[in-house]
């Protein structure tokens, strides 16, 4: 391993182990170091955001220079990004003008994209029924119907008896709660093993190997 790779691995292991000890040992120096190191990581995450923005701008400028197809969209992206970034730097994100920009551009587009999901999700459900009809897809779509039926009153009919007051709470709070708990514990166990592999240097996702 090259010296620079060794330095990166040493950094990851040393900082990671100290922060981890700070979580589990009630020993003041570790706790204090944990707070400082997390603070440094937050600062570096701020720099990482700038690196990401720089990369985004560089990719689109390259496309614009090469006059690739769709580069006009890239021009709009770069322009709006730089304008918003400079305005945000000058005024701060809480300034009324920035709030207005948020209300005018971000909120409507985000909400409209969310609204488009009603169509795409319904389409995906129909496709699933046509292409992969098995017990699990029927259980999945049956659950969706039960939850939606139990959530809102139907026109003319009102609340569906039994579904709204017994079936929906049992399905969503007990059965789905159990499944979600199993998934959560599985994710936590996966995080634990993957994290420990990083902390012993077996995985080096920071450019080592």
């Amino acid at each position: 391993m090259k010296l620079r790779g060794l330095l990166s691995t040493a950094f990851a292991i040393a900082f990671g182990v100290i922060v981890l000890l700070g979580y589990f040992l009630e020993f003041q120096p570790f706790y204090g170091l944990r707070v400082v190191f997390v603070e440094w990581a937050v600062i570096l995450a701020g720099f990482a955001v700038l690196v990401g923005l720089g990369n985004l701008v560089a990719v689109h400028i390259k496309k614009i220079r090469a006059r690739e197809k769709g580069s006009a969209y890239g021009l709009l992206l770069v322009f709006s990004l730089l304008m918003t970034f400079l305005a945000g730097l000058a005024w701060g994100p809480d300034h009324p003008n920035m709030v207005l920009l948020f209300r005018t551009v971000q909120f409507p587009v985000e909400a409209s994209l969310m609204a488009l999901l009603t169509v795409s999700l319904a389409y995906a459900s129909v496709r699933m029924l046509r292409r992969r009809l098995n017990l699990f897809s029927i259980v999945f779509l049956g659950t969706v119907l039960i939850i939606l039926l139990g959530t809102a009153s139907l026109p003319l009919l009102g609340d569906v008896p039994f579904v709204g007051d017994w079936v929906r709470p049992f399905v969503s709070q007990v059965i789905a709660g159990a499944g979600a708990r199993g998934i959560l514990i599985g994710v936590a166990l996966g995080t634990l093993t993957t994290g420990l592999r990083v902390l012993i240097g077996a995985d080096r996702p920071y450019g080592g190997k």
């Binding site: 620079r4 997390v38 701020g46 992206l77 209300r103 659950t143 902390l199």
Partner: protein, 220 residues
């Protein structure tokens, strides 16, 4: 229309146009939809960058440095090295900074997984069997047992180890059966999540349609 302040009216018009441009995707993927999305990405990215500078780098790095906190010089050096990632030739300079972030992030994730998920979730599964005398005992036992069976079988479904057999590696029959039950629980869980997302999407659709109607109403 006349009673509406001009800035508000222009904001309403832009909001109206962007909504229509995004909804045009229902017809097909077209230039108007792409314009709206690229504008959205640009504005969002710029906003995030401004937040990172004003609410992270300024108060946590620049101000302490100006106040003479020499400890802040270390993350500054690492941050500047991280900016080397912008060029292919200097990208390796940023690896130690990335390693620090990964190391600290991993430790925080492990701490969160153990203290925030594993212990509380296992504890909650056990606590379900502490019966409340005010509620029906049969109902509580049914709930707690379902929780226990659902949690265990869902975990078993993600258990992929297998023994070597005549026709290649095979899971034991018990694990296969429990995994099958777990799959039912997972299907129901995803169904509930899907229904929640669908309900949220419907709410957004109603809100957008209502805003379109309000803006059109303000014109006449």
């Amino acid at each position: 229309m006349t009673s509406m302040p001009s800035t508000e009216w222009i904001a309403g018009l832009v909001s109206f146009l962007l909504t229509v441009m995004v909804f045009s995707y229902l017809w097909k993927d077209n230039a108007l939809f792409r314009l709206a999305v690229y504008l959205f990405v640009g504005v969002s990215a710029g906003y995030v960058g401004a937040v990172a500078c004003r609410q992270v780098l300024l108060p946590r790095l620049i101000l302490p440095l100006l106040e003479g906190d020499l400890l802040a010089a270390f993350p500054l050096l690492l941050g500047l090295a991280l900016l080397g990632k912008l060029s292919r030739r200097t990208a390796a300079l940023g690896n130690p900074s990335l390693a620090l972030m990964v190391g600290v992030g991993t430790a925080v994730a492990i701490g969160g997984a153990v203290l925030g998920t594993l212990i509380p979730q296992v504890q909650a599964t056990i606590n379900n069997f502490e019966l409340d005398p005010a509620r029906s005992m049969a109902e509580q036992i049914l709930d707690a047992s379902t929780f226990l069976v659902g949690t265990v079988t869902t975990l078993v479904y993600f258990h992929y180890s297998a023994r070597p057999g005549a026709q290649g590696p095979q899971r034991s029959k018990l694990v296969t059966l429990l995994g099958w039950v777990g799959q039912i629980f997972i299907a129901i869980t995803f169904g509930v999540i899907f229904a929640g997302v669908y309900a949220a999407a419907l709410t957004a659709l109603i809100e957008r349609l209502s805003s379109l109607r309000l803006f059109l109403g303000s014109l006449f």
